[in-house]
């Protein structure tokens, strides 16, 4: 079936100004390209039908023998194995540098900028680390029994756990060096926005697609930063400057009840959204 019409040969929007007759000649030439017959359909069906049947029995077996939590644990374990030690060392270094910069840089804009852009650096790092290197790999991901979003979950969870442990250790060190800091307040101020934004990203990605999954948390984070900036500037009555940003944030995290309440709400919101995401995900899979 070579349905070549002359008007189709006229390239749309091109810089070619040849006549229709000229392109018609090309259409005729292309129509001369007749085809050998396609392979025998029945033979192909006979070869591949066992795969379709196997698929049915595999699905039934999988439903009978696995539960959701054993499936997730297996998935997380296998995903955790693909990370090389250099990845964990790099994570430790980045977090360590962040803490050192925050603690030992008394002046300068570096701590503030680091605080503001740390989540973006993390997101960019994860995106880079798990980008499909080739089209072939992208396709493998697409035909994998595990959906891309499940891969994302299972890859993020080990990272979140590991980074959480590293951060806990580092924040403990910080609290010992500066005794006026209350560790649990600091942790809540950190983990609330983290969990809230991560859950929002996953929920948005499932509900409205990948672009929303990136854009919504990003916009919200920028709004947080700008709001914090505005508050800091207002409360300091004009004496606030960029070099004090990180230090100001540490003080707010440690002392302000409003920050505590806000972080707590984000934490609860994040947990609810995570549950809702899981529910949407199960619906989409038909489980």
């Amino acid at each position: 079936m070579t349905n070549i019409e002359n008007q189709k040969m006229m390239p749309e929007g091109s810089d070619l100004d040849d006549s229709a007759a000229q392109w018609a000649g090309l259409a005729d030439a292309l129509q001369n390209y007749d085809m050998p017959p396609a392979p025998d359909t029945q033979a192909l069906i006979a070869r591949l039908t066992p795969l379709v049947k196997a698929r049915q029995s595999t699905r039934q077996r999988a439903r009978l023998t696995t539960t959701w939590h054993t499936r997730w644990l297996t998935l997380i374990r296998t995903q955790g194995m693909i990370f090389e030690s250099s990845f964990w060392i790099a994570s430790l270094l980045v977090l360590g540098i962040g803490v050192v910069v925050g603690l030992y840089s008394d002046v300068g804009t570096l701590p503030t900028l680091f605080t503001c852009f740390a989540p973006l650096l993390g997101a960019a790092g994860v995106t880079y680390a798990f980008r499909p290197a080739t089209e072939g790999l992208r396709e493998l991901e697409r035909i994998s029994p595990i959906r891309p979003l499940e891969l994302l979950y299972s890859r993020m969870i080990p990272i979140l756990i590991c980074d959480g442990i590293i951060t806990l250790v580092l924040l403990t060190l910080v609290s010992t060096r500066t005794p006026d800091i209350t560790l649990w307040r600091l942790l809540l101020a950190w983990i609330g926005p983290l969990l809230g934004l991560t859950a929002l990203a996953l929920y948005s990605a499932i509900r409205w697609g990948n672009i929303a999954g990136v854009a919504v948390p990003l916009v919200l984070w920028v709004a947080f930063v700008l709001f914090g900036w505005q508050q800091a500037a207002r409360r300091s009555a004009g004496t606030f400057d960029l070099t004090e940003g990180a230090r100001w944030w540490w003080m707010q995290a440690n002392n302000s009840n409003w920050v505590l309440v806000g972080s707590g709400l984000l934490l609860i919101g994040g947990l609810i959204l995570s549950w809702e995401t899981q529910r949407l995900f199960a619906q989409a899979k038909g489980d």
């Binding site: 189709k8 085809m35 396609a38 039908t49 049915q56 035909i143």
Partner: protein, 187 residues
């Protein structure tokens, strides 16, 4: 139910329905084979890639695609790209170059191409002219003018914006015309 949509049939295939699979293969065996054959100009290879395309469609575990036809062509197209990038294919090309065979498929000499195409019939002339195009240009041309797909669907299959598809088509036609004029297949 012959008028059942491709998407509905594919959903049934994914749940293990062999009757739906028979219908889907009957519908897609000829067009996918034509696409693969025109891309590769090699019957056994096109046959292998066709079978591999159907296997990938069967083993797919994700959510069924919104447009099955575009999805099937995307899989076939990726298989073609993987083949041309693969080690055996590169090895084959290197061997041809090493032995200085004049009929090398990657010949760039106009005279060499002229000699070869002039000896062949019109079918072979078109086939060889198509093989001189870059894979992206060839794919756009085949999908548009032989498989009769709309620009938007080709854009989905190739993973590029519709404007890029149009410019690829424009360039492919221009180049193809030049090649065919050179060997006397066109005036």
């Amino acid at each position: 139910m012959d008028n059942e949509t491709d998407e509905a049939l594919y959903r049934r295939v994914l749940s293990g329905d062999t009757a739906a699979f028979v219908q889907l293969v009957t519908r897609y065996n000829p067009p996918l084979f034509r696409f693969l054959y025109r891309q590769t100009a090699n019957y056994p290879l096109a046959e292998d890639l066709l079978q591999e395309t159907f296997i990938r469609l069967i083993v797919y575990q994700g959510q069924p695609p919104d447009c099955f036809r575009a999805w099937a062509y995307t899989l076939a197209s990726n298989l073609v790209r993987d083949h041309f990038r693969s080690a055996p294919h590169r090895h084959e090309v290197e061997l041809i170059e090493d032995e200085s065979l004049e009929q090398s498929v990657s010949a760039t000499s106009v005279h060499e191409l002229d000699d070869r195409l002039a000896m062949a019939d019109s079918r072979a002339q078109v086939e060889h002219a198509l093989q001189q195009l870059t894979p992206d240009h060839r794919e756009a041309l085949i999908l548009r003018f032989y498989q009769d797909l709309p620009i938007d669907e080709i854009a989905t299959i190739s993973g590029v914006p519709p404007g890029t598809v149009k410019s690829r088509l424009s360039y492919a036609l221009k180049r193809l015309r030049g090649l065919l004029v050179r060997v006397g297949a066109l005036e």
